[in-house]
Subunit: 205 residues, 2 copies
């Protein structure tokens, strides 16, 4: 049955087309301002078609989501060459922030935007495979640090969450424009300056 194969391929192609158009529009106009009709116009289909491929608007962008995690994860690959786990944490922080500052809209979608209500069918493990992947890597690295005698008196899971929060906090305050309170002379590049402070703290732990 070569025909139904082709049909399925065509269906997949249209799905990709929708996602492609959604991504382009989303990256140039943002989530809220990208409408279903915008996407439909771009691919020269009627708006209704989108609902045969995705449950709703959230699901469309939820699919893009995964692309972002993939990208972040691939940027994290260079960490394999960083042997010292303490240095690896630093490198992770640096990569994380670089990704966020270079792809603010994608970061926003991945970590700041109101999370679409978890659909029952994809368990949180499926849902967050990539996002969780990065977090798991962080946890493993911190565990390695602890084995070396760092972070005495700390608990692994809460500490991992804390360290994630540090970089996420800086980046999200920056992306959502809450750095106005920073003194003028430090405002420029505040996220990287904050990261330096974080490094300094790590050196003492």
């Amino acid at each position: 049955m070569g025909i139904s194969d082709r049909k399925e391929r065509e269906k997949e192609e249209l799905r990709e087309k929708i996602l492609g158009a959604a991504k382009v529009l989303f990256l140039e106009k943002g989530f809220e301002k990208t409408s279903i009709r915008n996407i439909a116009d771009k691919i020269e289909y009627s708006p209704g078609i989108l609902y045969h491929y995705f449950r709703d608007k959230n699901e469309i962008f939820h699919a893009l989501h995964q692309d972002g995690f993939q990208q972040l994860l691939s940027m994290m690959q260079v960490l394999n060459s960083v042997r010292n786990p303490m240095e690896r944490i630093k490198a992770m922080g640096s990569i994380y922030i670089t990704f966020a500052l270079q792809n603010p809209d994608m970061y926003d979608l991945m970590f700041i935007k109101e999370a679409p209500i978890n659909h029952i069918h994809d368990s949180e493990h499926d849902n967050w495979k990539e996002g969780g992947g990065t977090f798991n890597y962080l946890r493993d690295t911190i565990q390695a640090c602890m084995s070396e005698g760092h972070f005495e008196g700390h608990q692994l899971e809460p500490l991992s969450f804390l360290i994630w929060s540090i970089v996420h906090g800086m980046v999200s305050l920056h992306i959502r424009g809450r750095c106005e309170v920073i003194k003028e002379e430090d405002k420029e590049g505040i996220v990287n300056k904050g990261l330096e402070e974080f490094y300094r703290i790590l050196d003492k732990l």
Copy 2:
């Protein structure tokens, strides 16, 4: 001219009525789901009237903003009784997180929601007077810690930003539902567990 006085008072009253209705609706339905017509219905006026008191929907909620900062600032008042600056930082973190967890929608509006484009007329100092107030207090406290010999080798402004980011990071990951990656046994109360880790780090600085 008692008449124009009364008129102005009435105008102010309606403004307050709008804000009151907006706040109630916003706290029970959230920002996006509260429409201009909802607010107008609640106060039994036509939708158009809102635009004689506020530029747009953003400005209405931006006004509520200030209430939140006021509330947070008033919760911070107990800090006056905490003499040790290092302990004061901890107490600040605790209050900050308590506020955020008790008023997640308000916190969201204050620190996570897309900031309305700064209108030219209210400079950032006016705009963020209350928000900045809390940050200034944090900076002062950290400065006091440094005078006591803590945070050696650190820079005041970036370090203040970093510490703000820590609590903001945890809280915003929680509010926006990004804690699914946390192991089940630690998920419950992860923000407070993270705060404990932060305390532990502070003790070493």
